[in-house]
């Protein structure tokens, strides 16, 4: 599983954080953990993301990327920085 979810999106401007490049700045619209490459269940993944501050309306910015396949990523969520893999970041829908 490489974490490439179904890209049918309800809004053309909405993208998944896992697809975004370094330097991306946006706002979280919602979480959708149903189709990601994560090994966690959708519910568990969503809970963990919320616990790390990924909630609707939060400002996100991709600050850094890893060396291999630009993974994992370091994301500024409001005023904290969270490191996570792109496969988990797929659950975060941003604009």
């Amino acid at each position: 599983m490489t974490g490439d979810p179904d890209t049918s999106q309800d809004n053309l401007q909405d993208i998944r954080l896992g697809h975004a490049d370094r330097g991306f700045v946006g706002k979280i619209i919602r979480l959708d953990a149903l189709v990601t490459g994560s090994s966690l269940s959708p519910q568990e993944l969503e809970q963990r993301l919320v616990e790390m501050g990924f909630v609707e309306g939060a400002r996100v910015e991709i600050l850094h990327e890893g060396t291999i396949r630009r993974d994992p990523i370091a994301v500024r969520v409001d005023n904290i920085t969270i490191a996570l893999r792109r496969s988990e970041a797929m659950a975060v829908i941003v604009e």
């Binding site: 599983m1 994560s38 919320v50 616990e51 600050l63 060396t67 396949r69 920085t81 490191a83 996570l84």
Partner: protein, 624 residues
């Protein structure tokens, strides 16, 4: 209420400075143990308030919520809820928050409030927040949360005085615990709590117009795809240089000191006390001394690990290594435990608790003992200095150093290979576990906190040297000295001892890999701790050859062993499960004997095969 000791518990999210607050409250009056039945570290301490109340403090494992995802977090949840058998409910909970980063902690505070117990919010690192221009309306915040709030600067002297004062005030009046309304939060609960926390923050916190950019600027280099890895390599290089070169003078001092002490005992003992004199000099002093010599190295490696951790670099190292380690089936978080395993596999295996996925944790535990721990250094150093000439290659590479590097590289390579094999055979059908980690802002390391941490580790090491290793040294001296040689017997006395009998019995098994019976004898006490093998070889050969031999173990070995045997023993030490304590810890951490047996057998098999190949190859090449 003033007579009995009051129980305080520190609760908080990771990276809030909870541990340094604990350190500054209790100083060195700390005790580290395990919670009964589980392997989670229980850190407790005590202090006396300005008004003379004696207080015990429990530093609960850091957590983002009370859901209890890992054994650590379950402990925090159960103690907070008063469900933990054998642990009294805390009289007062101190919820520690990083004043510069309130979002995640405030949500936890809201969750903790539902538990209904007396609680106080501690805004730690308030000095950093002020310096950055963050202003917090404490009265308003206290109103909104319905909790008393104090500020603290755990790292500064006197930075907790307000906390102590308020604790006294708080404890002076009786507090009733309300009924707990806590239920496991759903996603909707978590989101609602986060929204409420964000609302309070928006109402009471004024953020500076200019955010902290220093962490960002450092990270743009430190987390750079190329430079980040270069910096990581340089840090590791400096760390190992330090372990080997900075420790040298202190180690020589200790070593000379023990030799002098042994000689002193030898000189002052009256004639005719030969047996007791031999016990004190050869068994006790040289045995324990040969282990305590490694204290400087242990202190230096833990100093580096704690400094990097405190600075905030360890999480960055995990970020940089996640994909690279992922190639070998390891989690980014395994980097810290594996790095610690270079000091000693025991803290390394205990540190795997940060990995919440069981498979990732087991893989890391399996390979942690393959990392070259500091206990192997004496064995390696002894054999290398005896058999490898100190010649210089290509003008700048020391051959002895190169061999040492090769042994480390062999350990790391084999660990990664074992991990990849385990991933392929044991958990082929499982997708990789997630990696989600907060990258805290960089902070200047808290020297006092680090000093306490290093001191605790050094104490543990000395305790081990004083108990397990000491008793093993006494045993090996006994085995090597009794039964005593009959009067008029020919040859060294040790040839008549129990040690020789055991060694001879094992010799046929070990002959194919080039070991003689003296090595076989040394390997047995070496199970207590690898470094004991050096002392045991010293004991075996010194009792055989008199005290001159003990001073020059290396020279004796160079005469008695072939190069093939020496190389075979070096290779044996890369792999062999030569450490009973490590095996015991694996058993404890994995909750059963199964993984301990697996580790023991796979390492033993690797060691035997690798030594067999090395010995025979070396012989075929004519290395005598």
């Amino acid at each position: 209420m003033t007579t009995a000791s009051l129980r305080l518990a520190l609760v908080g999210a990771p990276n809030t400075g909870k541990t340094s607050l604990f350190n500054s409250l209790t100083g060195s009056r700390q005790k580290v143990a395990n919670y009964p039945g589980v392997t989670v570290e229980r850190k407790s301490g005590s202090f006396v308030t300005p008004e003379g109340r004696s207080v015990t403090v429990l530093d609960l494992p850091g957590t983002y919520s009370l859901r209890g995802r890992s054994p650590d977090e379950e402990i925090t949840r159960d103690i907070v809820l008063g469900r933990f058998d054998g642990e009294a409910v805390p009289d007062l909970m101190l919820c520690v928050a990083d004043a510069t980063n309130l979002r995640l902690t405030l949500r936890l505070v809201l969750e903790l409030k539902r538990v209904g117990r007396p609680m106080m919010l501690v805004l730690n690192m308030i000095d950093i927040a002020k310096r950055r221009g963050v202003t917090i309306d404490l009265d308003r915040m206290s109103q909104e949360l319905g909790l008393p709030i104090v500020t603290s600067v755990a790292v500064r002297k006197g930075g907790v005085s307000e906390l102590l004062k308020r604790t006294d005030e708080f404890l002076a009046k009786p507090h009733e615990a309300a009924a707990s309304e806590w239920t496991t939060p759903t996603i909707a609960d978590l989101k609602a709590a986060q929204r409420e926390a964000d609302r309070i923050i928006a109402a009471v916190v004024t953020l500076p117009t200019k955010p902290d950019t220093l962490t960002n600027r450092i990270d743009s280099v430190v987390l750079h795809p190329v430079w980040g890895l270069v910096i990581l390599a340089v840090i590791l290089f400096v760390m190992f240089q330090a372990v080997f070169t900075w420790a040298q003078p202190a180690m020589e001092l200790l070593s000379d000191g023990f030799a002098a002490l042994g000689q002193l005992i030898h000189d002052v003992m009256p004639e005719g006390w030969g047996l007791l004199q031999s016990f004190l000099q050869n068994g006790l002093i040289s045995g324990v001394g040969s282990v305590i010599v490694f204290l400087p190295q242990i202190i230096i490696i833990f100093l580096f690990i704690l400094l990097l951790e405190d600075f905030g670099y360890m999480a960055r190292a995990a970020f940089l290594m996640d994909r690279i380690m992922g190639g070998a089936g390891l989690h980014g978080r395994a980097f810290i435990p594996l790095l610690s395993s270079f000091a000693c596999a025991i803290p390394g295996i205990m540190a795997t608790r940060v990995i919440d996925n069981r498979r990732d944790r087991l893989t890391t535990i399996l390979i942690a003992p393959l990392m070259t721990c500091s206990a192997r250094i004496p064995v390696y150093t002894l054999i290398i200095s005896a058999f490898v000439p100190a010649t210089t290659l290509w003008g700048f590479v020391n051959l002895q150093g190169l061999v040492m590097f090769g042994l480390y590289a062999a350990g790391i390579t084999s660990a990664l290979t074992v991990s990849a094999i385990a991933k392929f055979f044991l958990w082929r059908d499982h997708a990789p576990a997630p990696f989600m980690l907060e990258l805290p802002d960089y902070k200047m390391p808290r020297l006092k906190s680090i000093a306490i941490g290093v001191f605790t580790r050094a104490k543990m090491f000395l305790y081990r040297a004083g108990t397990t290793i000491l008793s093993m040294m006494v045993l090996i001296w006994f085995l090597a000295s009794f039964p005593q040689a009959p009067a008029g017997a020919e040859g060294p006395a040790i040839n008549y001892s129990f040690a020789a009998m055991i060694g001879h019995a094992l010799e046929p098994l070990l002959r194919p890999i080039g070991f003689n019976w003296q090595i076989a004898v040394a390997l047995i006490p070496g199970m207590a701790a690898r470094e004991v093998a050096v002392a045991a070889l010293g004991t075996v050969y010194s009792i055989e050859g008199g005290k001159e031999a003990a001073d020059q173990i290396g020279q004796v070995l160079a005469q008695k062993w072939t190069l093939a045997t020496a190389l075979s023993l070096l290779v044996w030490y890369i792999f062999a499960p030569q450490c009973a304590s490590t095996l015991a810890v694996i058993r404890r951490e994995t909750g059963g004997a199964k993984w301990m047996v697996v580790t023991f057998l796979y390492m033993l098999a690797l060691a035997y095969v690798a030594s067999f190949l090395t010995f025979n190859l070396a012989q075929a090449l004519g290395l005598h």
